[in-house]
């Protein structure tokens, strides 16, 4: 086992632009060893670009960083030796069975030949492909391909695992199995994991910390629990009457109506306000509140709040 670093990743002012769009804007990020981090953000937020920069697929135009103790700009092969990457896209090496493909990729990562074969069998059993390991990978179902991608990312026992949409295209059972595997790997404390996903329940189910990205910036980085608490002022309300002026006044108080569902609004009050403010406003504007309930806040609320704040709402 090699020396473990306290920090697995430190990025300083990383910026990257494609010809027509700035994908990363002065990203600063520090991640501790042994963590399980969720990377969230809407489409085009910069999640994939960030992963590509960590893997060295893209060279940042400004900024620098260290990953697993190695400088990002000068030691990309050393960094890759210690990273396991599960890409989002359906990718495989055709004409091979799962053992051959996993061992082959393990060899390229630096495993000795006999160890690569042994380790390929181990990780394929671990992800649940033991019985199917001699089948040609071209014939695998989507769920099996996802597991195979996890196996190839684990074969060389990396220090950092990057998982891009790990449950994409999986049925509910497969999805649960995948999330259990991720939790188990993280639970051993041997591998730090970054999971990028647009599925908030997945992140909420497995991650302790979450990074929220929007428009190329990290807009929030907190423990999932803390993030949930910070968004605790969320209520379900239903009201009748002349709501136009009422809603305008709510808006002036920085209250947000986050969602509509069968006449019920999801209302997010600023931390500084209490429900009493809402009732006072309703009374003044002759609006009847027919339904009022504090909702169990979820990561989704926190996500909406963080994105809303970064958009200036």
């Amino acid at each position: 086992m090699e020396d473990r670093q306290e920090e697995i990743l430190r990025l300083e002012n990383i910026s990257f632009s494609y010809p027509k769009v700035q994908a990363l804007k002065s990203v600063r990020l520090t991640l501790e060893d042994g963590g399980l981090y969720g990377l969230l953000g809407p489409n085009g937020a910069g999640k994939t670009t960030l992963m590509k920069v960590i893997l060295g697929f893209l060279k940042p135009q400004t900024g620098d960083g260290r990953i697993l103790g190695y400088p990002l700009r000068d030691s990309i092969l050393e960094i890759r030796r210690r990273i396991g990457y599960m890409p989002e896209s359906d990718c495989l090496i055709p004409g091979m069975d799962a053992v051959t493909e996993t061992a082959y990729l393990g060899r390229i990562s630096g495993l000795p030949p006999t160890e690569a074969i042994k380790r390929a069998h181990e990780v394929l059993y671990y992800v649940g492909l033991g019985e199917e390991r001699y089948r040609k990978v071209d014939t695998y179902s989507t769920g099996m391909k996802q597991k195979l991608k996890l196996a190839q990312a684990l074969v060389h026992d990396p220090q950092l695992l990057l998982l891009d949409e790990p449950t994409s295209g999986m049925d509910p059972n497969g999805r649960r199995e995948m999330l259990d595997l991720i939790k188990d790997i993280a639970g051993k404390g041997r591998i730090s994991i970054i999971v990028s996903s647009h599925l908030l329940p997945d992140i909420e189910a497995v991650c302790r910390s979450v990074l929220i990205m929007n428009k190329g910036e990290i807009v929030a980085q907190e423990q999932v629990q803390a993030l949930n608490q910070s968004s605790a002022n969320v209520f379900e309300v239903k009201f009748t009457g002349d709501t136009e002026r009422f809603l305008a006044e709510l808006s002036r108080l920085d209250c947000r109506i986050a969602e509509w569902e069968r006449g019920i609004s999801k209302l997010v009050l600023p931390i500084s306000e209490t429900p009493r403010t809402l009732f006072s406003l309703a009374q003044r504007n002759k609006v009847q509140i027919r339904h009022f309930k504090r909702v169990q806040s979820t990561l989704e609320d926190a996500f909406m709040k963080a994105i809303g704040e970064s958009n200036g709402y």
């Binding site: 697929f57 030796r81 396991g84 990718c91 390229i108 495993l111 671990y126 595997l181 188990d184």
Partner: protein, 284 residues
């Protein structure tokens, strides 16, 4: 207890480092080509000229079969034997088929199945990837050009009892197959990177190899200039034979044009491939 039930278990060994990161790609590629359908037929047909020339060397060293050298003039000298072997039309044709057979899918299939992120997320540079893929075609081409050339020298020694072979001829036996194999491997790999449609790429490679000579011949006939033969792989191979084995100039341009063109083109094609891979990697 199943491993899955035990949970994740790490690996406590030391990962190997070294300058041969491309070597696993070569080994796996050799196995994959060997297991392909019809590989044995292709190998047999490519190796067949060696059997003919092995028999010819045997015949040359048997006094009772000496009349054969009167019938086939090129067998009179060692230079003639090796030049004829390396530029033998069936061998040249089969080397091109072998290059297409072993290399048409090498990059094309990786593009089709989006395998490049699996390679480039590992300690493998773009050059390592290229060298690994190139060496697969190179290996098979050398197996049927350089290896038979060396075996023919061994047979000559075995049947005649003397190893009287000039330095220039020895250099020709070594460098002729190296240059031809390098060029065919680079061209095939470059063509393989043009599309993710593996069938289309295979067809394109066969078209290039089969019709380039006819195209060059057509231009030469219309424009009456021997330089157009530089566009023909077959004519370049004949000219390269003349360069290495000193069998006389075939066309009206300096002999060194051909080795310079073949090596230069190979390097340009590999450079273009590198640029393409850099682009694909950033989109991976």
């Amino acid at each position: 207890m199943a491993i899955k039930e035990k949970g994740y278990i790490g690996w406590d060994g030391q990962l190997q480092k070294g300058s041969l990161a491309w070597f696993p790609i070569l080994l796996q590629g050799i196995r994959t080509v060997w297991k392909k359908k019809r590989s044995k037929i292709v190998f047999f047909l490519t190796g067949f000229p060696f059997l003919i020339f092995g028999a010819a060397i045997f015949a040359l060293n048997k006094p009772e079969l000496k009349f054969l050298t009167e019938v086939i003039r090129t067998l009179k000298s060692d230079r003639g034997i090796f030049n004829t072997f390396f530029t033998f039309p069936q061998l040249v044709f089969m080397l091109m088929i072998l290059a297409a057979f072993s290399g048409s899918e090498l990059i094309s299939a990786d593009l089709k199945y989006r395998a490049l992120p699996l390679y480039f997320s590992r300690p493998l540079s773009k050059w390592d990837y290229l060298v690994g893929k190139l060496s697969i075609i190179f290996f098979y081409l050398l197996c049927f050009s350089l290896v038979p050339g060396i075996l023919l020298v061994a047979l000559k020694f075995l049947f005649s009892g003397s190893l009287a072979i000039s330095f220039r001829l020895l250099m020709g036996i070594l460098f002729f197959p190296l240059i031809i194999s390098f060029f065919l491997a680079s061209l095939t790999l470059f063509l393989s990177s043009l599309s993710a449609n593996t069938k289309l790429i295979t067809i394109i490679i066969f078209i290039v190899y089969i019709f380039n000579d006819g195209f060059a011949e057509l231009l030469r006939t219309i424009l009456k200039n021997d330089h157009y033969y530089l566009l023909s792989i077959q004519k370049n191979i004949i000219q390269l034979g003349a360069f290495f084995f000193g069998t006389g100039k075939s066309w009206k341009f300096p002999l060194w044009y051909t080795p310079a063109l073949l090596v230069g083109m190979s390097l340009i094609l590999l450079g273009l491939l590198y640029i393409k891979l850099r682009k694909v990697e950033s989109q991976a």
